[in-house]
């Protein structure tokens, strides 16, 4: 199915991009499915930015959006073209880390503006997008995106870092195709950006999980 609705972490926060041409009913439907699949995972009170350059909404459509978002404890606001936004990310206070106390299964997704700590695994097909760092107490086998709003100093730490894809800010690294040839170390590892590329090294900071 074609995606008419895309959530995107950008330098200025969580953005919602709507297709310019798709039927609004379809958009609401797809949006609902996205919100449903990520229930509880959008932080409450989070403000989603909808660039108006993308699509002009009628008052009625705006109301539909507002009430749908409200069902999930979210708000939205219109912004101008995202690329020329003058908002400073640093001006917003850093939110408290979000702590998830379960394993993320395939198809589940977390989006959060701050750091995310997961007490469990991130399984294949699951996705974590965080404005800050990501720390996973178990295995990371899915997709992790730290520093999603552009913070290149963000890191991803997991007891077993075997993610299919790691993203930090705008840099993407994928797992090697011949994973079987690699011996998985039994120590906690951290991914960070060095010289413009994602590198993985033994974790400096020992996170302790109970």
């Amino acid at each position: 199915m074609q995606e008419d609705v895309i959530f995107k972490g950008s330098k200025t926060g969580l953005q919602l991009l709507l297709s310019e041409t798709a039927d609004f009913g379809n958009i609401i439907q797809q949006l609902k499915e996205k919100l449903e699949s990520a229930t509880n995972f959008f932080s409450k009170g989070c403000i989603v930015k909808v660039p108006i350059a993308n699509r002009v909404l009628t008052t009625e459509q705006q109301q539909q959006l507002t009430s749908l978002f409200a069902d999930y404890g979210l708000k939205w606001k219109e912004v101008q073209d995202p690329s020329v936004s003058d908002e400073q990310p640093a001006a917003e206070p850093t939110p408290k880390p979000m702590i998830i106390t379960k394993t993320l299964r395939g198809g589940q997704e977390i989006m959060y503006s701050g750091a995310v700590i997961i007490m469990g695994d991130v399984n294949p097909g699951a996705k974590v997008t965080a404005g800050g760092d990501i720390v996973i107490s178990g295995a990371c086998r899915g997709v992790a995106h730290a520093g999603a709003y552009g913070d290149e100093k963000a890191t991803i730490t997991a007891k077993r870092l075997i993610a299919s894809q790691l993203r930090i800010a705008d840099v993407i690294a994928r797992s090697p195709d011949n994973l079987d040839d690699f011996i998985q170390p039994d120590y906690t590892e951290t991914a960070c950006i060095k010289d413009g590329a994602v590198v993985i090294e033994p974790a400096k900071q020992q996170y302790t999980f109970n």
């Binding site: 229930t39 379960k102 394993t103 993320l104 299964r105 395939g106 198809g107 589940q108 695994d121 399984n123 294949p124 097909g125 699951a126 295995a139 086998r141």
Partner: protein
């Protein structure tokens, strides 16, 4: 009140219908009152596997739409007095029923039966939502293949978000010689990813195919490997402590499997 168990998987063709038929018949062999519910509306199979196709008059949708009483739609098994089937409608689709109706249906059945076992359709859409709606617990069936395990994981997540926790796992179609050569996922790898309790392992067994074509579940056989494996699962569900054929410490899974199955 009886217990409502849904047999689900995500991926198609991994053995949900086979497992429903065998567990249900296995319970009936021990004298339990059981009803099998075919929730795969539009693609019904369970009646064929049970050899009851020619007795269908009313179906699940007739019940939910009020065209007949629940009792009228229940088909008594040929072999076992305490075993019944509620067949799916073949000419309708998944949207002919909704989760609320399924909840009512399941609780009505649970009044009458010790076990209500629901055969879930493949997929994660309406049919899945209907099948799990009234279930107290879930059994996830997978095969030792990466794609089936991925789908099982997704299903576990969806069950969780519906407030259904602690599903149990059945790994079907294990081929010991392939696992041994490393050509198939082993049980440990599967459990590590899914992180749920293993309820049992069913070997690949051509007797399943033979019995399916005959319309008589394999569990009726006193000797077939798959029959023994299904009987073990039934006993575990009844709370008996039947040792799992898994790995403990140094002893490999194959070794155990060999010992138990006599390979």
């Amino acid at each position: 009140m009886g217990e409502v168990i849904v047999i689900t998987s995500g991926k198609g063709g991994v053995g949900k219908t086979t497992t429903t038929a065998n567990l249900g018949t296995g319970f009936a062999l021990l004298g339990k009152k059981v009803v099998l519910v075919d929730a795969d509306i539009g693609l019904r199979n369970l009646d064929v596997v049970m050899g009851l196709e020619n007795r269908i008059v009313y179906d699940l949708v007739d019940v939910t739409e009020g065209n007949c009483r629940l009792k009228q739609a229940l088909i008594r098994d040929k072999r076992y007095e305490s075993l019944y089937l509620l067949p799916a409608a073949q000419t309708r689709d998944k949207n002919a029923v909704n989760p609320d109706q399924m909840k009512v249906l399941c609780s009505d059945l649970a009044e009458e039966f010790d076990y209500v076992i629901i055969d879930c359709p493949a997929g994660i859409e309406q049919g899945f939502k209907n099948a799990i709606a009234g279930a107290d617990r879930a059994i996830i069936v997978t095969t030792p293949e990466v794609s089936a395990v991925r789908d099982a994981d997704r299903i576990i997540g969806l069950l969780e978000s519906e407030g259904k926790h602690d599903p149990k796992l059945v790994v079907n179609r294990i081929r010991p010689h392939m696992v041994k050569k490393g050509d198939m996922m082993n049980i440990d790898d599967i459990i590590e990813i899914l992180a749920i309790d293993l309820l049992g392992i069913i070997p690949e067994d051509e007797y399943i195919v033979i019995s399916t074509n005959r319309g008589e579940p394999a569990v009726v056989s006193p000797v077939a490997l798959a029959s023994i494996a299904y009987k073990n699962i039934v006993r575990r569900l009844l709370g008996e402590n039947v040792p799992l054929m898994t790995i403990e410490s140094n002893e490999g899974f194959f070794y155990k499997l060999k010992k138990v199955f006599g390979f």
